[in-house]
Amino acid sequence: MTDKLDLVLERTIDAPIDLVWAAYTNPEHLKRWFAPRPYEITECELDPRPGGIFRIRMQGPDGFDTGHGNPGCVLEVVEGKKLAWTSALAPQYRPAEMASEGCESFPMTAIVTFEDLGNGKTAYKAVALHANEADKEKHEQMGFNEGWGTVAGQLEEFAQSLRANA
């Protein structure tokens, strides 16, 4: 199921699984590591059950502010083992509105699984799934518009060939 647009990260951490799980799923903990400094998560809601809300507000010293933030949707929770959420849906599975720019402008799904390795160590795997946004971004950067169907068609073909050759 792995696509070229999926990002997979697998790591082992020298900490017990309870602590790792809490740090990942408790909003008070999540606030502390989710945003790249000097940006800060000033508000965070994470209701760890299917259909639950996942919302963050990010602010920076340069005046950057996501405002209320587009809430995402928790998809799956297996206590201590798995958390999946998506920005493509709003809470209770309502299709989400995407922001016009920035980090909330593209849909993504995150699936994180945890495994207790014993001896106070935990392995985890974080997968980020993306839609075909790289192409979308490329279109936008080139100032594409709908009238350029031919070029867009070729681009699609080109993107597919890139993927096939990857």
Binding site: K4, L5, L7, L9, R11, I13, D14, A15, P16, L19, V20, A22, A23, Y24, H29, R32, W33, F34, P36, A126, A128, H130, E133, A134, D135, E137, K138, Q141, M142, G143, F144, W148, T150, V151, Q154, L155, E157, F158, A159, S161, L162, N165
Partner: protein, 92 residues
């Protein structure tokens, strides 16, 4: 044509050869690609050679590279935070 150019520069006739299109139609497509900044071309003698504009190619791949970097860094911070938590628990 873009797929072909991804493998390296090519002349107009090389680009046209596998396509079921007239040469003028191919030229028109190439002009649209060039106007959009996707490709550039230069004429030497009677041969026009086309190549992909490297910046354009990079932007699509760059998007994913940026996402990867974001994802990796986020988990670097996560691990740092977990280790801090662990230290605090041990001291408590």
């Amino acid at each position: 044509m873009l797929a072909r150019l991804a493998r390296g520069p090519a002349s107009v006739s090389e680009l046209a050869q596998p396509l079921e299109m007239s040469l003028p139609a191919v030229m028109q497509h190439l002009k649209a690609l060039e106007d959009s900044g996707l490709i550039r071309s230069e004429k030497k003698g009677r041969v026009r050679t086309c190549r992909l504009n490297p910046g354009v190619l990079a932007s699509a791949e760059q998007w994913l590279v940026d996402r990867r970097s974001e994802w990796e860094k986020r988990h670097d911070r996560f691990e740092e935070y977990v280790m801090d938590l662990k230290d605090k628990e041990l001291k408590a």
